[in-house]
Each structure stands twice: as C-alpha cells, then as structure tokens.
Symmetry: C2
Subunit: 246 residues, 2 copies
C-alpha cells in the first residue's frame, strides 16, 4: 500500500508475554487506533524485562536516535517493582538518566492523599522518568507514562494502556486514516489467487490481502482491500467482485 | 531466571496483524508450548509481508546465520497468493533459492485427487520451499511447512499453525520445562514490591513477576515465581507467602 503517513513501531516489554502466561492485546488495540488515525504501523516487537533488549529495540526503532520509524510506542515495565526497568532503559537509549519528575510526584502524592495511603519509596518509583521527558496522562490509576524523543512509554495493564492511548494519540500529528473493504467468499485461497493478483497489479497503490478460515461449513477466504483513498478502495473492490462473479 | 535451555524467537509475518484487523494468537500458543517443553523464548517480532523485513529478521534471529537465538519459528505467508512471500524471503536469508519440492508436490497432488480438484499453478506455489529444506507435516490442510537451518516455517491459519507446532516441537531437542507458581493478593503492586524484591534477591536463579489487575472488587496483583527447579520454585513461593503473611 502506498502511504506517506508517519511510520510507527510498538515495543511490548514483559516476561509474562514470552512465557505464554499472558496473551498480548495492547499492540492489537493500538494497531487499530493507529490505522484509524493515519499512522503506518510497520513492526511490533516483544522483549523480556531486559535492559539490553529494550535499549537495542528503542535505538533500532526511534528515528530521533537514527532508528527506522517516525514514532515508537512502548507497553509495560513502568510499575513500582524491581523488574520495572523501562524508564531506566529508555533513558539509557536516549543518552540520559532518570529523575523523580516533580509533576509526576505531585500526581502520585495527590492520589495517595485521596486514598489515605502513604507515598512510599516504591510508589515514588513510578514518578521516575528520563530527564527531558513529557508526561502522558493516566486517568485510570494516576502513575503517568512519558514521551521522550519520538518514544512514547505507556503502562502494560490493559485498562491503563488504553487510557493512555486515548489521551496521547489524538495529540500526535497523524496522516490519512486507512480505508478498507472486505468480502467473504466460500472458496479456498488457491481458487481466488489469480483474480486477486490481477487486481493487485491493476491497483498498485492499494494493498490486497486474502485470509483463509475454516468454520462449520468448510473453508472460506476473506478478501481485504486497503488504501488511503476511499474511492480507489471502492473501485478495486468492484473490480474484484466482477472478476470473481460476485 | 537462570536457564541453559535452548533459546528461541518467533517471527510473525502478516500485514493483517499490523493493520489491527487480526489479533495475533499463534505466538501466544507457541510461547506456552515452548515454556512447557524447555525452550527459552526471548523475542517475538511481527513484520509486514515485506521481503526486506523478513530477511533482516531471520538473519538477526537464526544462530546458523550468525543471529542471536538457537531456534526461529515463523508464522504466516506460505499460502498460494501473491503476497505469500515467506518461502522466498527465508530462502534469501539462508543464501539459497526456492524449488518445487517433489514430496510437497506429491502431498498436494494426492489431496487434489482426493478432493476431485486440479493442482493449479497457484496451488503448486505451496510446494515451493528453499533448496535443502525439510518438510513440516500439515495434517489439517495438506500444504506443508518447512525447516531450513535453525528456522522453522509454519502457516498463519491458527488451526494449521497449531497442527504444525504439535508435529514439530516434540521432534526438537528441548531443555527443562519451566515450573511456575502463582498467588493472588488483594493489594496493589506498590504494597508488595518490597517483599517481592527481597525474595527475588534471595532466589537469583528464579524469576519473580507481579501482574496487577483490576476487577469488580478493586485492584489486585498476581505474584508469579518461575524457574526450572520445582523444589526451588516451591521454596521461593513459601518464603514469599511468609513475608506477605499469607
């Protein structure tokens, strides 16, 4: 698909994904939001709670550090426990150190006051952000995320991640949303490959995909046309339907 | 967690994951299987149906090509359509070319004969594998996966992927399965961070993780101990329970 939309990558941080304990869903959620707001998601990586892996991925991704993509979003590892090392690793990748951010500290203090608890050293860990970072609001549980360079660091707890995405993404300069249209055929992929390829060649600015599935009545295939221009997508879908006698 | 188990990475190939259309589940399934059979999954990457991205990832991953991990598993892009480029890209990464594999051709021909269909050029695409590859059985839909070097290439359709994993993984030389134990506490992560850190330091051979969640009755945290020795995991969990007065 031809696109001059800003490019993006997602870095998911967490042993629990790699161990098979948790099925990752944050990247899927953000992928949908990015498509709809005009960002071109090019890559997702899942790494362990491991400093070297996180630093290497941030440097490979963040264009402000010579990496491949305009924007980087991370999920996970910004909580209060010993294995929450994302802030430190992102700081290292960006050549800086972490500090207790006064604004983040005030947010956590206000929340503790409201709940009648104490701002313990462990809770205060969640106010540590890289020097120069800008906070990302957390309407769900207080402790903020942060942005530094082109890297946007968010929490792994799904409710919190979604809240941060909802706050952050509308504040970023996106491009044109992706338009898509889907048709389901009761044929195997092999039986539509010829027609699909012909239409893909006729519409080189669009992306044509085929996704086979199996259900109670046998095999079928979803054919998906994607692009930035709604009229072109409709034109390609009409051509495809005609070729397939639908 | 200390482990001398073989290391592994998963490469998921498919625009439909990055567009947000499909929620990836194959990596999650395989992650659980690898944990249970003694492989140490270190990284998951999702890339587009893009030759450069696939070649770069295979080279970064496969130890036989100078990459970082003992084993590589891929999901997706081995069907009959124009955007199914995985076999070609994996061949390129391994410095070889693709050919129609006679055994794969026979499998597809037998299936077509059984179903009364023709082995069209598009169907025959699914018999193209890198020179030197060994086939992976597909009991679900016929068209095989393949192994070359340390790279194991499987289909993206979930039923087919699972079938290939079930056939392949028992044939690989694994290490010791991961043992884990979990306890749920009705406290926030901050309120257990101290105890968790102390036990983590006392058991440096194990991995201790904390996973906060929110449900109808408020916030809670799952505490997970993981390691290769079941007695050590039990000992650490007992120590943790004692420290937390559980």
């Amino acid at each position: 698909m031809q696109s001059d939309n800003p490019t993006a990558a997602i870095l998911v941080i967490g042993d629990e994904i790699l161990s098979g304990r948790t099925r990752e869903g944050n990247a899927h959620h953000l992928a949908g939001v990015l498509s709809a707001t005009g960002f071109d998601l090019r890559e997702i990586r899942v790494v362990a709670d491991d400093n070297d892996q996180i630093v290497a991925a941030i440097r490979a991704f963040d264009k402000s550090l010579g990496g491949a993509y305009d924007l980087v979003f991370t999920s996970g590892g910004i909580g209060p426990t010993h294995d929450d090392i994302t802030a430190d690793s992102v700081a290292e990748a960006h050549g800086t150190t972490v500090e207790v951010n006064p604004q983040a500290r005030a947010i956590l203090q206000a929340r503790c006051d409201r709940m009648g608890t104490e701002l313990t050293p462990n809770r205060l860990r969640m106010a540590r952000v890289p020097v120069g970072a800008v906070l990302i609001d957390n309407a769900v549980s207080g402790a903020p995320g942060f942005s530094i360079g082109n890297t946007h660091v968010m929490a792994g707890v799904p409710e919190v991640f979604r809240g941060m995405v909802a706050w952050l993404v509308p504040r970023l300069s996106g491009g044109r949303p992706v338009q898509s249209d889907t048709v389901e055929v009761r044929r195997g992929e092999s039986d539509v490959a010829e027609e699909l390829k012909a239409v893909a060649e006729e519409f080189p600015d669009l992306s044509l995909g085929s996704y086979p599935f199996q259900d109670a009545t046998g095999w079928g295939t979803n054919l998906v046309v994607r692009g930035l221009d709604v009229a072109r997508v409709a034109e390609a879908m009409a051509t495809l339907r005609q070729r397939l006698d639908l």
